[in-house]
């Protein structure tokens, strides 16, 4: 039983990171019908910004700031940095192609993805960097529930992810910007006619999605330590899978999809073998696609007349 619960914690950690990445894919798709393949790289950049802040503060072993200040600072810097990067990508790679055939921005997205990967390789070389989190917040610090150990870092990651997701939900459902985003997603032309500055709404969507990816990058750095130029590829793929499983374009769907993928991976590794974890993930994807082609929470696309 404790083994089962331990996997629940592992799966939730992984799942909350996937969910944050999936949200960025889903929001952008919802509003532009564009698969932003550069999203994984935005997450990679977020992880590097977090690493940069950590290094500037003296590194994990000998930080000049207490962990309680440093970690929020890392999150803040990564989120803002990634957010601005997302806006820049939208402005220079997608907006000029707004009225081009749908394949054009998609190719542009793949190009941006390669560009960012190569840029990171150029700037940081291919060496795998290590957050060395245990030096900052020892993994042995945490909550013990009976025989179960949950480290503080994991609690931090899961709680931060939940807070961000709640904040996003409130933003989309309760604010003027959220209303404008929903309107733009529903029908961009009609929204523009109603006086909504759709370009600004789209930029804001990219900003918010990228902020979440930046946070996910720091989380991965904190829990799984390793940061390198190629990390965005697989994470982006998993986030994308999560978004599709949940129903792309649907915000609660992305959250559920992310958690589902994370849990599936953890349980497959624990009860079958690590070699099957990706098999299980993509089997779930195929299964969902067969039964509900629009995803768990997705609504079938309506043909606009």
């Amino acid at each position: 039983m404790e083994f089962f619960v331990q996997q629940l914690v592992n799966g939730l950690t992984l799942g909350s990171v996937y969910a944050l990445i999936a949200l960025g894919y889903s929001m952008v798709y919802g509003i532009l019908k564009l698969l932003n393949f550069a999203h994984g790289e935005v997450y990679m950049v977020g992880a590097f910004i977090g690493y940069g802040v950590l290094t500037m503060a003296g590194g994990a072993a000998d930080p000049v700031l207490p962990a309680a200040v440093l970690v929020p600072l890392m999150f803040l810097a990564a989120m803002i940095g990634s957010g601005l990067l997302g806006v820049a990508i939208e402005r220079f790679a997608y907006r000029p192609l707004r009225d081009a055939p749908r394949i054009a921005p998609l190719i542009s997205a793949v190009g941006v993805s390669f560009f960012l990967q190569a840029a990171a390789l150029l700037l940081f070389t291919a060496r795998i960097r290590n957050y060395d989190t245990p030096e900052l917040i020892p993994f042995s610090v945490g909550v013990e529930v009976g025989p179960l150990r949950i480290s503080l870092v994991r609690i931090l990651v899961i709680v931060t992810a939940v807070v961000l997701m709640v904040a996003l939900t409130l933003l989309v459902s309760r604010t003027r910007l959220g209303k404008a985003m929903r309107a733009t997603a529903y029908d961009r032309e009609a929204a523009a006619m109603m006086g909504i500055d759709t370009d600004r709404v789209i930029a804001a969507t990219f900003f918010i999605g990228s902020v979440l990816a930046g946070a996910a990058g720091v989380m991965i750095g904190l829990v799984f330590s390793r940061v390198f130029h190629f990390m965005g590829f697989l994470a982006g793929l998993k986030g994308f899978t999560a978004a599709v499983v949940g129903g792309i374009g649907n915000i609660p769907g992305a959250m559920v999809g992310g958690l589902l993928i994370g849990l599936a991976e953890a349980y497959a590794a624990a009860y079958l073998s690590s070699r099957f974890s990706e098999l299980v993930v993509f089997t779930i994807l195929i299964g969902v696609m067969l039964v509900r082609p629009s995803g768990l929470f997705g609504t079938p696309a309506l043909q606009k007349v």
Binding site: T13, L35, L121, L122, A126, R127, F139, F230, A266, R275
Partner: protein, 418 residues
């Protein structure tokens, strides 16, 4: 939409196919008269070669004119050696180090011998398919007389049949799978010992010195890793050790679930992996879950910068070259120019040295052909090899008298224990 995703991924997969270089431009530079060419600045160390559309020549001979001034025969100009490695992709941290050491070896060789050989660099991304394309490009480039690499055993297997008809010698700097030198790949040589040496060394040490009772072996699904695990497992079982075996993809980012499967009576976790940073995470997650088993890693984990789990053991095909006084000058020169390095660089230096020495010898003997170079590689002797012992090849293409060393990590330092 999924179709689009697949298309995009396929595009990503194909992206590297143009990466292999043709050495034409570089060769042209190399043939320029040394007396009229100013010494070139060596490539800056941080420059990656994602496109790899370049060749490197070291400082030209002008710098040496005031020295012993021995000039290579004129028809040696413009000859090159190919290097294939994973310069981008998942294993780029290994590939970049190998590339830098190959460039470093070329610069020093050219400076020492008054040659201006060039290096043709090609990216394989540790992918046999990519390596095949690269191999074909190497074969069709007449300037290339020998090849350093490719890095992975799976790639070395893929390129063998392409090199063989052209008698193109290729010298592995990290491919340790035993079967490579069994006769199927007659143009293959390697400067590192094979897993027939590593496996028994590791297994014996675990049983005799560490008193292993219960060992968990986790391979990383590469040809290198499964091969080594397959050698170690029966040796341990014969010695009465209980062995559990699992496997995890090399690009895995989280080992938590795997770590929780380590039973409490497991005393050693054997990780024949290629990425040291992954093992570091594995050890951190073991600590997180209160697992106390000792990690025993293979040569791939020898990387003091990336892997520092207290009390862990690592085997290596070379003594720590930073601890060898006779290599201090070399280590310092490299570090100054290119920065820190792990375990994959020095063998690449040795392999490049072998290739260049053979090309020069063939050239001095007046027979500049791949066949002649292949023969010369077999006869090369490097007396003061960077790997700590004289380097010669046996009839199979393996290094004579190769042995493995075992280190224990104590306070972040690698201490030689056997």
């Amino acid at each position: 939409m999924l179709v689009l995703a697949v298309l995009a991924l396929a595009a990503a997969g194909c992206g590297g196919e143009d990466d292999a270089t043709t050495g034409d431009t570089g060769a042209a530079t190399a043939t320029t008269d040394a007396a009229t060419t100013a010494a070139e600045t060596p490539e800056t160390p941080t420059e990656p070669t994602a496109g790899a559309e370049e060749t490197t020549t070291g400082p030209t001979t002008e710098a040496e004119d005031t020295g012993d001034g021995q000039a290579a025969p004129a028809d040696c100009d413009g000859l090159s050696v190919g290097i294939a490695g994973p310069f981008t992709g998942d294993a780029a941290s290994i590939g970049q180090e190998q590339l830098n050491w190959a460039r470093f070896a070329l610069e020093r060789f050219n400076a020492d011998n008054g040659t201006n050989f060039a290096l043709v660099e090609a990216d394989t991304q540790l992918d046999p398919a990519q390596a095949t394309t690269v191999a074909q490009q190497f074969v069709s480039n007449g300037d290339i007389l020998a090849v350093v690499g490719p890095a992975g055993s799976q790639e070395a297997e893929a390129v063998g049949p392409i090199f063989e008809p052209d008698n193109l010698a290729y010298i592995g700097m990290s491919a340790t799978r035993t079967s490579l030198t069994g006769g199927d790949y007659p143009t293959f040589f390697r400067v590192v010992p094979n897993d027939d040496a590593q496996g028994p060394t590791d297994a014996t040490y675990m049983v005799d010195e560490l008193g292993a009772q219960n060992v968990f072996i986790i391979d990383d699904q590469t040809s290198y890793s499964t091969g080594l695990a397959d050698i170690v497992q029966p040796l341990l079982e014969e010695a009465g050790v209980t062995v559990t075996r699992d496997s995890v993809p090399q690009d895995q980012t989280d080992f938590s679930a795997l770590v929780s499967r380590i039973s409490d009576d497991t005393d050693i976790v054997f990780l024949p992996w290629q990425l040291a940073a992954s093992a570091q995470l594995f050890s951190q997650q073991m600590e997180e879950q209160g697992k106390t088993a000792t990690i025993f890693g293979s040569d791939g984990l020898f990387s003091p910068d990336d892997f520092s789990a207290e009390g862990a053991y690592v085997s290596s095909f070379a003594p720590d070259i930073t601890a060898l006084p006779e290599q201090a000058e070399l280590v310092e020169a490299y570090t100054e120019q290119y920065g820190e390095f792990g375990t994959f660089g020095p063998p690449t230096y040795a392999a490049t040295q072998v290739a260049l020495t053979a090309v020069l010898a063939a050239c001095e003997a007046g027979d500049v052909s791949r066949e002649a170079v292949l023969e010369q590689v077999g006869d090369v002797t490097i007396t003061d090899s960077i790997l700590g012992a004289p380097l010669t090849f046996d009839a199979n293409g393996d290094v004579e008298g190769a042995q493995f060393y075992i280190f224990r990590i104590e306070g972040g330092e690698y201490v030689l224990v056997e």
